[in-house]
């Protein structure tokens, strides 16, 4: 049970969500969350302004091959004479785009499914739960691999595949929240006062189920970014001209013994992004006092 559910709104409306201290002040006390926020902000900035920040064209093969990191090329050049820093900067766009868009899609549809299942019960619940059970038969990453296998590679297909893979996580967590919230007095009060099913779900149940969903979303973004990188690395991701971190590492594999920077920097970029999201997620978990969400 989350702590808000006990605060009963007098008019039967949703209880106000109040905290002793704001999230911003918590972030400044929690060094991990502070680090996560700053690093993530830098990556978001880099992704948004990539064309202005990147020193060179990420696809132009203008330079000598495999130049070690130097003043001119801070992270060196790759086997085709492309600037590694520019490629990693552009790779930020794909990673964050996939991370945020997949989780948004999975969240919207998954939460809607979970709330409908938990609220209505009966055959709606049964159908949705059977679907969730079916998804449970595959690890998330394997679902994504299989969907890309069926529908082909490409950015849009990768986004759809990863969103679908995360759908059941959100549905399951929303459903279990609804099952507890449904029994609260403010829900009965709303029902007695004549609120429609939709209004009850949207105004009374959803706001009180938000905390674990937010934490699940942060955890999922980090797994989505890792998943996209893995798919790209395996050659099942976006088109090969687009610089993505996973693809840069896949291309670098044959040259690692001669050019260490090709094997190190793209991985550092993935790790820093995922680490900052995990730090932020951990801070959120403590702040919102959520225990329902496990790692993965």
């Amino acid at each position: 049970m989350t702590k808000y559910a006990n605060v009963l709104g007098a008019d039967g409306d949703s209880p106000p969500i109040s905290h002793k201290s704001s999230f911003a002040s918590v972030i400044f006390r929690d060094k991990k969350a502070l680090f996560g926020t700053i690093v993530l902000a830098v990556f978001v900035f880099v992704a948004l302004f990539a064309p202005w920040i990147a020193p060179y064209d990420p696809t132009a093969m203008d330079f000598d091959m495999m130049i070690p990191p130097s003043f001119e090329f801070p992270l060196g050049t790759d086997d085709l004479g492309r600037d590694l820093l520019s490629r990693i900067i552009y790779g930020t766009q794909i990673s964050l785009l996939v991370g945020v868009s997949t989780v948004t899609i999975a969240l919207v549809f998954g939460v809607a499914m979970g709330i409908a299942a938990g609220y209505y019960g009966g055959w709606i619940d049964m159908i949705i739960m059977r679907y969730i059970d079916l998804q449970w038969a595959f690890p998330n990453f394997i679902i994504a691999v299989y969907l890309v296998a069926v529908f082909g590679a490409g950015l849009l297909n990768v986004i759809v595949a990863i969103s679908l893979a995360f759908l059941d996580d959100f549905a399951r967590i929303a459903r279990s929240m609804v099952l507890t919230i449904k029994e609260e007095q403010y829900v009965s009060a709303a029902r007695v006062s004549g609120a429609s099913d939709f209004r009850i779900m949207w105004r009374h149940i959803l706001p009180n189920a938000v905390a674990p969903i937010i934490v699940q979303a942060t955890v999922s973004v980090s797994y989505a970014i890792l998943g996209e990188a893995s798919l790209s690395f395996l050659g099942l991701g976006v088109e090969s001209e687009t610089p993505t971190w996973g693809l840069i590492l896949a291309d670098a594999r044959s040259f690692i013994s001669r050019a260490w920077w090709l094997g190190i920097f793209p991985g550092v970029a993935i790790m820093l992004t995922v680490l900052s999201i995990n730090f932020l997620g951990d801070g959120l978990r403590d702040y919102l006092d959520v225990r329902e969400v496990k790692d993965i």
């Binding site: 991990k32 059977r130 059970d133 079916l134 449970w136 038969a137 595959f138 690890p139 998330n140 990453f141 394997i142 691999v145 299989y146 890309v148 296998a149 069926v150 529908f151 082909g152 980090s222 890792l226 990188a229 893995s230 690395f233 395996l234 050659g235 099942l236 996973g246 590492l249 594999r253 690692i256 013994s257 260490w260 094997g263 190190i264 793209p266 991985g267 993935i270 790790m271 995922v274 680490l275 995990n278 730090f279 951990d282 496990k294 790692d295 993965i296």
Partner: protein, 316 residues
Amino acid sequence: MSRYLIRRTLGALIVMFAVATLVFIMLRLVPGDPIAAMLFDAGDPDAVDEIRAKLGLDQPMYVQYVKWLWFALHGDFGQSIYGSRIEVSRLIMEALPRTLSLASLSFVIAIIIAIPAGLIAATHRNTSADYAVTFVAFIGLSMPDFWLAILLIIVFAANLHWMPAIGYVPLAEGFWPWLSHLILPAIAVGTAFSAIVARMIRSSMLEVLNMEYMRVARSKGLSEITLIWSHAFPNALIPVVTVIGIAFALLMSGAVVVENVFAIKGLGRLLIQGILNRDYPVVQGAILVVSAIFVFSNLLVDVLYSVIDPRVRLQS
């Protein structure tokens, strides 16, 4: 207990039936004609009808479906349509021990590292040891497994020459050759799981250490070692068993990726190669076996958990 067991086994079988159906339907959703595309790639466009007949794709849908279920039930997934056209079941039987070896070794290494790390963090709460464990666990969770695999190859294979960089040697050819080929991939696969277990053990230990019975045990004058090993640790392990299911998800997904880095011809490499070659019988077989392993190992864990903690089966 037996009712619980029957119910759960039945549930798992139904899920597997649904998975087999889903795999059948999905492959018929593939845009375009996979056989034509594949033969076009292979430079043999005239053989389309022959191959379609051989795969039974010229028969009505329901016949194909019943046949697929029947043959899958017998472990017969047809022939690979790529290269030498080997039986898919043979490819899977060759790949399976490699993936199982890799997954088990990853599991063992992960647990060997996670238990002491989690215990030290919990018993030395808010000391530098605790912070170090937490920090390393976060790093472990945030590193992509394939990148860790590349780093391990750079350091231990390419530079130090301690281990071979790629390949697999069966256990039958000796323990050390087997282990030396598998240890780097196993570390790459097991790190994320190890980090999760260490964090679980830490928080679960902290909870148990605050329990009433711990205070009683301490007030009886028991030594700190006895307290931790025979009172706290066994109880702290109970919730950890629930993440074993997550372990299978992580280990299977990890194996799929890492096998490709180390060129281990396991199920993961079979699956990815099948996808890249558009070898659909292989993809079908591999995906079904991967999900069967996952479903039944999860069933096993649930049953074990209900033995350790009887509250579980009474609840549901």
